[in-house]
């Protein structure tokens, strides 16, 4: 067991765990942040996607030992209707497009999309498609998910004007 200090969603956390523990397990089991989901555990489905220093990373593939001082952000950072009574633009867009069916992939989808919109606020449809490609939805709501990301991008562009 080794002591790690992690910065998650703007807060410092101390955890004591084995160095090869996936970040996903630390988030869910130690920090009770259950947004990111365990899907395949092999970095092939994206349901555990979080932001690591602003970049999308599949947290099942991230040993806690490599995180270091890099800030981690999970879907909880975007807004939580129960606690803060607000949710983020992307979350609202996913609701508006009814992009979730079972919902298991959605936290990962939203974080993957967050990484895109933070760097490229007005992506083309082709860019959205390419960027979202690593994340799978086994219910098959990909078309709605793409529409939701489009809607969020358009909304953010409108708010800026």
């Amino acid at each position: 067991m080794t002591a790690y200090r992690l910065q998650v969603n703007g807060k410092q956390h101390a955890v004591d765990t084995d160095p090869d523990t996936p970040l996903l397990y630390v988030l869910r089991n130690d920090l009770a942040l259950n947004g990111a989901k365990f899907g395949c555990g092999l970095g092939q489905c994206g349901s555990c996607t979080v932001l690591l220093a602003g970049q999308p990373a599949m947290s099942c593939m991230v040993p806690v030992s490599v995180v270091g001082a890099r800030p981690v952000r999970t879907v909880e950072s975007l807004g939580d209707a129960r606690q803060q009574h607000t949710i983020g633009v992307l979350q609202q867009a996913f609701i508006d497009e009814q992009a979730a069916q079972c919902g298991y992939c959605i936290a990962g989808m939203i974080m993957q999309a967050t990484a895109l919109l933070e760097r490229e606020p007005q992506p083309s449809d082709a860019r959205i498609r390419a960027h979202m490609a690593p994340n799978l939805c086994r219910c098959g709501t990909h078309m709605r998910i793409l529409r939701a990301v489009r809607r969020a991008a358009d909304r953010l562009a409108k708010d800026k004007r």
Partner: protein
């Protein structure tokens, strides 16, 4: 008084004459006439078209001319070269934007001399220095195939060349140096299959375009034929006695690799080689077998080496007296926490396990580029294709961690001397 002035006059005239002569010679070297446009596309019989499809597949036309699968042969792929970015062009029979007005003569001249129908010189990103040795029958068949594809409207995208390479006539001097139009000759000492493979590898599939290093002028360094080159910033391994493969390739492995991208217990195709094997999967199987026969004969020249690949298993912890102990410990930890889960899990090949890392050829390459691409981007089969996947670690490992992991794998996985400039290569590979 008079004599020196006359001498000066003579000198001036001589200089002028020399300049005019040089200009004439340059004109002769650089200028090519336009060939008359054809007004209608000829018709072709089906067997020719079918043979042409096989030539197009083996010639890898689509790997540059079909960046968008929904628009076959419409071109538009940017190709980075040391001299600027060249865009592949539309080779569908569209009269306005493709090659619909090209007669067979014009097409043959482009394939053999690198000259477009209107007389402008094509950039050698188009491998006419290989196609020049294609048989006329193959060129005829290829023409029949391309001329019967759907015509698509796709104007050429402007190239972005660094000065002075935007001047196409300069390519004429490249051609003087590198365009060898001696016809391909079979080796009578070898089997028909070997000769078929040798012909396909050289004149059609142009393997050497990536697997032979290039000179500063971007031409093949023929003294180092198949010594290993590069493609899209990946190291393209040597296909001769210098093959980096730690275990000798068997012919069966090569045949399987070229047809499916997967050689069990030996290698999987990644990077630009994925496009190649995808196309070979559509070619005639006997042709791909011939390619495998020829390639195997080249790779068989590599000496059998004593490497860690013969004794696969989990990689060891760094030795206590390792001069770079801290970095190697970091590399070992990263290996144990990230790589070993799949690569050394001791599972059978059918249950999603990966190659033991001692057998991974990229660890034995003379430079780390391919390994870094694999670590950062993983392996993803092309859209819609089945194949092995590996997740990429670009956003997971920081630069220092990627350097430590690559250095550790090189030393304790392959037992090879450290790569020079590994830090710089990592930083360069990760600069967007």
């Amino acid at each position: 008084m008079n004599r020196p002035r006359r001498k000066r006059h003579v000198k001036r005239w001589l200089l002028l004459a020399a300049v005019i002569a040089a200009a004439c010679i340059a004109w002769i070297i650089m200028w090519r006439p336009a060939l008359a446009p054809q007004t209608a596309i000829p018709s072709f019989d089906d067997t020719r078209i079918a043979r042409g499809a096989n030539v197009a597949t083996l010639g890898m036309c689509a790997s540059c001319h079909t960046p968008d699968l929904s628009r076959p042969f419409a071109g538009g792929k940017p190709i980075e070269t040391p001299f600027g970015t060249v865009h592949s062009t539309n080779i569908t029979p569209d009269a306005a934007t493709g090659i619909g007005t090209w007669s067979l003569d014009a097409f043959t001249r482009a394939m053999r001399k690198g000259v477009a129908r209107d007389g402008h010189l094509l950039y050698p990103a188009f491998p006419y220095n290989h196609y020049v040795r294609m048989t006329q029958a193959d060129i005829d068949d290829l023409y029949a195939y391309l001329m019967t594809r759907p015509a698509l409207d796709a104007p050429a995208r402007p190239n972005d060349m660094t000065f002075p390479f935007g001047l196409r006539p300069l390519v004429a001097f490249w051609n003087l140096l590198y365009l060898d139009d001696a016809p391909w000759r079979p080796d009578p000492a070898q089997s028909a299959e070997w000769n078929r493979g040798a012909y396909l590898a050289d004149a059609v599939a142009h393997c050497a375009a990536c697997h032979t290093p290039r000179t500063l002028l971007g031409g093949p360094d023929i003294k180092r034929q198949l010594d290993g080159g590069e493609a899209e910033d990946w190291y393209a391994p040597a296909l001769n006695a210098r093959s980096p493969s730690p275990l000798p390739w068997t012919r069966a492995q090569l045949a399987s690799y070229l047809r499916t991208g997967l050689a069990p217990d030996h290698a999987i195709a990644a990077g630009p080689m994925q496009d190649v094997v995808m196309l070979l999967a559509q070619a005639r199987p006997d042709d791909v077998d011939a390619l495998a026969a020829w390639t195997h004969s080249q790779l068989a020249r590599a000496p059998v080496r004593e490497t860690p690949a013969n004794t696969p298993g989990p990689l060891p912890a760094p030795r206590a007296d390792d001069p770079e102990l801290a970095a190697m410990r970091l590399g070992h930890a990263l290996y144990a926490h990230s790589c070993a889960r799949c690569h050394d899990a001791g599972r059978a090949a059918s249950s999603g396990t990966a190659l033991p890392l001692q057998q991974a050829i990229a660890l034995y390459d003379p430079d780390p580029r391919s390994l870094l691409h694999l670590i950062d981007d993983g392996v993803h089969p092309p859209d819609g294709e089945a194949g092995r996947t590996m997740p990429g670690f670009r956003n997971i490992l920081g630069d220092e961690q990627a350097v430590a992991l690559a250095a550790y794998l090189r030393k304790y996985g392959a037992g090879q001397p450290a790569w020079p400039d590994l830090d710089d290569t990592v930083r360069k590979a990760r600069t967007p």
